[in-house]
Symmetry: C2
Subunit: 222 residues, 2 copies
DNA sequence: AATTATTTTTAGACTTGTCTAAAAATTAGT
DNA sequence: ACTAATTTTTAGACAAGTCTAAAAATAATT
């Protein structure tokens, strides 16, 4: 069995992996198609192929899920993606909203030595510039605690740990508002009407919509 | 005109470029096929395509040569290849005989910011780990002086500037013989019979075949 | 200059990944 | 439970890049 996958195949595995985080059910053809901006018929073809290679479990009309082997590959790709993001920000002066497209290319470079050495060179980072956890060499991931800022109650204090949405527009909004990873947030008030919240962050008061709050991972301070 | 080339197209341009260094004539279909380890018929197809994109000059049965636009692209790829090689050796602990395959992949990453920043990060290196010149941002290259060790006469002294053959086996031979870029060589004796030479290098006497000497670029010391 | 050998091109086929349009299966709605 | 709506799959086509085998052009030989 040829385990040297095409970039396309790798992208499918990665898509299924990331869609699998939120659920334990099989991932629908349509969901994959939407994620990869392709057509359902193309997805069906590819899932069959990956199923033949025993990288996904697949029964007609029942959606797809990763096998152990498939998940291992997906995690390796994500590991590479995030390591490269760290490299770009830490050493090459990229902003956190500029790294995605380049990392999307770099993640497909095949060389275990490269990945290992890069990891070492970066001093074994645990999180990427967006706060996402970097899988270790064995594929273990410290998933986010999963607490969103939107769930924090008034008068509580938390620390920004990551962003869920990594689109450039969201990241630029955060930059312009002075919200960074590590920032301490105090929830001053929650508006019942639209669930927006008034917060104290980086020395200023700021009103943020629920949409924003739902996309910020935080660690609650006791 | 879509200027976003596939990796395959880029590899053809690079192959034609490197074959063009030794000659001013058009490059034959067969030569390209051999370089890329493919068939002549495939080369014909691709050359036509590149000709349509005005990246190569092509007349049936007359071989191919790069247009100004094609050469510019080829040089950019070579620039990226060599910058990555420097990165791998300088920062990621790769040996000079290990970098080629990885750089072959990395050279296709598309991001002008990445290339610029990498160049700056590496402090604008002028040569890669094999002594090959790195084109600058505008595509200018300091070609090798072109003097090979084989042309150096007995009792003359020279400095190793680069290797012509970058295969792993040749580089490992050099490592095991203590021959490095920058090494000072004195030609002690030239054997008329087989053109081998006895040299003094890195504190030892060494006999090398003409084959070896023909693959080492040197700068003659006056 | 005619013939032979080599190189190059063409023609047709195959693979990968994609698409559209139609058919089949599943899910939802009453 | 039975249509209706939605999702998924199939069938057939296409583009990129490759191949083999045969034809055409060029180069070499005598």
């Amino acid at each position: 069995m040829n385990l040297d996958l095409s970039q396309t195949e790798e992208n499918y595995l990665k898509a299924i992996f990331s869609l699998s985080i939120a659920t334990s059910k099989a991932i629908s053809t349509n969901a994959i198609a939407e994620k990869l901006e392709t057509k359902a018929s193309s997805v069906t073809d590819m899932i069959k192929k990956l199923s033949d290679k025993e990288l996904v479990h697949y029964k007609k009309y029942q959606g797809a899920s990763l096998t152990v082997a498939g998940k291992a590959i997906a995690v390796r790709i994500i590991r590479k993606h995030r390591l490269w993001e760290v490299f770009l920000v830490k050493h090459l002066n990229f902003k956190w909203d500029e790294v995605h497209d380049v990392a999307e290319q770099l993640e497909h470079i095949k060389s275990t030595k490269l990945t290992q050495q890069l990891d070492e060179y970066l001093e074994f980072p645990t999180h990427d510039p967006h706060g996402d956890p970097i899988p270790d060499e064995n594929g273990n991931i410290d998933f986010h605690t999963g607490v969103m800022l939107s769930s924090i109650l008034a008068s509580e204090i938390a620390i920004i740990m990551g962003v869920k949405d990594s689109t450039s527009s969201f990241l630029k909004y955060l930059d312009s508002s002075g919200i960074k990873l590590g920032s301490v947030v105090e929830v001053l008030h929650k508006e019942e009407f639209d669930n927006s919240m008034l917060i104290q962050i980086e020395g200023q008061k700021l009103s943020i919509s629920q949409q924003i709050a739902k996309n910020l991972y935080v660690k609650k301070q006791r």
